[in-house]
Symmetry: C2
Subunit: 174 residues, 2 copies
């Protein structure tokens, strides 16, 4: 019936859609619009990957996660993946392979993440600086260690657990 | 430095936190607060589960997903899982086993989902009616069919792909 913006924040816009129910009654839904995001699985050797550890404000905890972030206006998904990888880990990727897109909250948000496998990593000479508000520790671990942390609950977020599950076939098992 | 509510909607509250950067500058983050949610994997036989198909407003698509929804005020997670299972599928569970909690957008939202495996299912005699705005088709499929759909991209949302990955050991393979 109608769709209006009820709040426009820096990274979140709230849209209110009014729809007609089968009964004829109007019904309101709030939808959180967010820029699209990317998640990167940085493979640094046959058996190892890079993850990042940082304080996350949504949940008020330090989390061990795959790197990633928002796609900026005018940027392609792969460009965002290369930029975030360099900003968060200091590495550049020779190969950046798109794996797939996944919805994260389809009932109430547009949010979608595109997953990339980054390979042929080398340390950037003058890495892009991280965002001002980010304070990130880079962690190197084997793929098997990462899977064990996802299983045990030490890795707690959906994109990291999902990202690991998408790349099993690319890592050599020990 | 400060934390204020900038928008209070029906199911989404936007909180703006102002923090001090290491440089001394203030920095603002918008955080979307949402009620906690549950996701249910309803196992209906040794090899089969139930999923639901419905139009999802966040992404404007019909999706095949695991059932689930918000925990209501005053409700425990398991109660919400039993209620949503009955509302969305018409089944009641003899056993409702909590598996684990997973964060879904730790950078910008409090959102967390608790996953449950539902077993000993039987059709409810007078099922709770679904929410007014829901129009849900119940789908029975084998666990292997569901995994193949997650792999192929026919199942597109994070909670469903993750939920399936949590319960592999409970299903007999064919």
């Amino acid at each position: 019936l109608k769709s209006e913006t009820v709040f426009a924040g820096k990274d979140i816009t709230l849209r209110r859609d009014t729809v007609q129910l089968p009964s004829g009654e109007p019904f309101e839904h709030d939808i959180a619009e967010r820029p699209e995001e990317i998640t990167v699985i940085p493979q640094i050797s046959e058996k190892e990957l890079i993850m990042v550890k940082q304080f996350r404000r949504g949940v008020q905890e330090i989390l061990l996660e795959l790197p990633g972030g928002k796609i900026s206006a005018g940027e392609r998904a792969e460009e965002a993946a290369r930029r975030e990888l360099e900003e968060e880990t200091g590495y550049q990727a020779g190969e950046m392979r798109e794996l797939r897109e996944i919805f994260f909250a389809p009932g109430w948000s547009t949010i979608k993440k595109t997953f990339f496998l980054a390979r042929e990593l080398k340390a950037a000479k003058n890495p892009h600086p991280a965002d001002l508000d980010e304070n990130i520790e880079v962690v190197k671990l084997t793929f098997e260690e990462a899977l064990a942390k996802a299983e045990s609950g030490e890795i707690k977020d959906a994109k990291s657990i999902l990202g690991l599950s998408l790349v099993k076939k690319f890592f050599a098992s020990s």
